[in-house]
């Protein structure tokens, strides 16, 4: 086979996208369709590098239903497929759904990887692979990315790096404890007692995978598992068995305790000293092996020295509602780092920006925002007066953006009839008087209902509409409520 020339040689581009996971591919696809010149570089050698490493024991956590009430090539189907990237062309849609073996509702890592590769190939999303971003300089009017292949100059840069750097919380002695990312095969744990620091997704993934092998499992962290939140979260599958075992006293323990120190013991094991939180009192544990399931961070390299603000223990960049760094103009993030823009979090419910299902829509908006800043004109879909209510009803029933990004994205109709998707926070603060917004939201009890927003004067009028037993928001009361807004 002939060696093909690598695309995007070093040089000057209006936009550079760094990364070839779902966030990078979705952003690159959207920029291409908007006609924005850009380069895409990646340190990996093919799309979706992360899915070849993690999750370690299990499948992904988000569902893809091969059959659903809407046809797989339709836009409405996207709500039933939380893993495929989105596209205008039917042949680029639902590429993960096509890979599902139907044994599970969530894809395996291999199914996910194949779906991403199919999207990149059929969509003609080019990437300069094996090109590693090494350092960054700020120059007038933009940034210079120094890479293993040379320098890239750009006005805007989109980092789609994932939250993929193993991170350990600052506990004395933690350096002697291997990270989740280094965990070996389950059989290596046969007959052993296992101490897992962390009670979030990765900690419970390990506990669930190790239960058939380990003698005892201790999960330890200061805060209790949020069982009320889990009851309405798709991630709960990982928590079921370990929590059930813990509640029945079967050898798994989920302890709420602030870890004071971890030490190696003479027999090669680990000893942990902690102070109970939910139930106060000292706790000492000994185990044969220990694992730090304390999470990951975005690999921001030298961006902090340029002034990048972060949240969550410095693990994730702090972002505006349009996913721009709050401190470095022109530096954007795509992929699951988009969770650095928290949104309104009404009723404590977060966005879906940490998963493909949510950030694929963010990426499309991000591309539009960058295109606008580079002087491209955005083409809006225009609605006539009589089209507005039927259109909003159909969006409330099946609009995948507002169904997936509940309470983060909003379907907007401007006074002139232009319609589009925006971050809700942006709509509330910047839309002209007479603009209408509709969202689907969820409360802490898991009820799903539409909410309408109207900018009447200085103030926003917010109105929650009733729930429906079949989530069908197309009936008379919903139409009447929308009609009263127009």
């Amino acid at each position: 086979m002939a060696v093909l020339e690598k695309p995007f040689p070093p040089g000057e581009y209006p936009v550079v996208v760094v990364g070839s996971g779902p966030g990078g591919l979705q952003t690159a696809y959207a920029l291409s369709r908007l006609g924005v010149e850009h380069a895409v570089i990646s340190q990996d050698d093919s799309p979706g590098g992360m899915f070849r490493k993690w999750p370690i024991y299990q499948r992904l956590l988000s569902w893809t239903k091969p059959d659903a009430p809407h046809d797989r090539t339709s836009r409405e189907y996207e709500w039933y497929d939380h893993n495929s990237l989105i596209a205008d062309e039917p042949e680029l849609r639902a590429t993960v759904a096509a890979e599902m073996d139907r044994n599970y509702m969530v894809p395996s890592c291999a199914e996910m990887s194949r779906g991403l590769a199919a999207f990149a190939e059929r969509g003609g999303v080019h990437v300069r692979y094996d090109c590693r971003w090494e350092s960054t300089r700020q120059e007038e009017g933009g940034y210079v990315l120094v890479t293993s292949d040379g320098e890239y100059r750009c006005r805007a840069v989109v980092f789609a790096l994932g939250v993929t750097d193993p991170w350990k919380s600052p506990i004395p002695g933690i350096e002697a404890v291997p990270h989740y990312a280094e965990t070996g095969a389950p059989r290596e744990f046969q007959g052993k007692s296992v101490l897992i620091i962390g009670k979030r997704n990765s900690g419970f993934e390990l506990a669930d995978g190790l239960e058939p092998w380990a003698r005892q499992i201790f999960l330890v962290s200061p805060r209790p598992v949020q069982t009320a939140v889990l009851s309405i979260a798709t991630v709960r599958v990982r928590y079921f068995e370990p929590l059930e075992d813990a509640s029945w006293g079967g050898g798994t323990f989920a302890l709420d305790a602030a870890v004071e120190r971890i030490e190696r013991t003479e027999n090669g094991g680990y000893r942990l000293d902690a102070a109970g939180t939910t139930r106060p009192g000292p706790i000492t544990l000994e185990a044969d092996v220990a694992i730090a399931a304390t999470g990951f961070r975005t690999p921001i390299q030298d961006l902090r020295e340029l002034g990048l603000a972060t949240v969550a223990d410095g693990r994730i960049p702090a972002l505006s509602p349009y996913w721009e760094s709050t401190t470095l103009p022109g530096v954007y993030f795509a992929g699951n780092t988009m969770q650095g823009a928290a949104g309104l979090r009404k009723n404590g419910v977060g966005s879906a920006s940490g998963t493909v299902s949510g950030f694929r829509y963010n990426a499309r908006l991000l591309a539009q925002t960058i295109a606008k800043q580079l002087g491209h004109k955005r083409e809006w879909r225009m609605l006539g007066r009589d089209e507005i209510v039927p259109y909003l009803v159909s969006e409330l029933r099946a609009g995948p953006e507002i169904w997936t990004q509940k309470g983060y994205l909003v379907r907007v109709v401007y006074p002139d009839g232009a319609t589009g998707i925006l971050p809700l926070a942006h709509f509330l603060d910047h839309c002209p008087r007479g603009s209408i917004g509709v969202t689907i939201e969820m409360n802490a009890e898991g009820a799903i209902y539409p909410v309408t927003y109207v900018r009447a004067g200085e103030e926003i009028e917010e109105r929650e509409l009733p729930t429906h037993h079949l989530n069908d928001f197309g009936g008379g009361e919903y139409r009447d409520a929308l009609e009263s807004l127009v």
Binding site: P222, A275, T277, A309, V311, D313, N347, G348, L428
Partner: protein
């Protein structure tokens, strides 16, 4: 400030959490509860429901009503408790005046939070009593 150790240290200095021991502070200092806002960004919007309780970790914010500044909030100050406790829409806007970091207790979890930490509830009550006293003194 960039790690959980610092978040615990920050909270420890606040009057609101002065009665809590280290384990209790660690339980509260959830890095995922940290929110960051750019200067000029709104944190709370008048008329909106479903809000939470916030403690300022760093930076300043202003409370405004129809554009008029009513109050300025600084490190260690808290807000959002009234609309959360009464389950009513917000009555004012709160905007970041400088880059702002806050700790968020989501509205649906505030009651359980206060019942878990009655010393924090007591300190909130003292602050609310002072605010009420100021309003009464201003009226008389």
């Amino acid at each position: 400030m960039s790690n959980g150790e610092d978040l615990v240290e920050t909270l420890r200095r606040f009057n609101l959490f002065a009665d809590l021991d280290r384990a209790q502070l660690e339980a509260i200092a959830d890095p995922d509860s940290e929110r960051s806002f750019a200067a000029g960004e709104r944190i709370m919007r008048r008329g909106m429901s479903g809000t939470g309780f916030y403690v300022i970790l760093d930076g300043e914010a202003t409370v405004t009503l129809s554009g008029e500044e009513l109050n300025r909030l600084r490190q260690g100050d808290f807000f959002g408790e009234i609309s959360t406790l009464l389950d009513e829409p917000l009555t004012a806007d709160i905007t970041a005046e400088t880059p702002l970091r806050v700790l968020e207790i989501p509205g649906p979890r505030l009651k359980a939070f206060l019942l878990s930490y009655p010393q924090v509830m007591y300190r909130i009550l003292v602050t609310e009593a002072r605010r009420l006293q100021e309003v009464l003194a201003w009226r008389s």
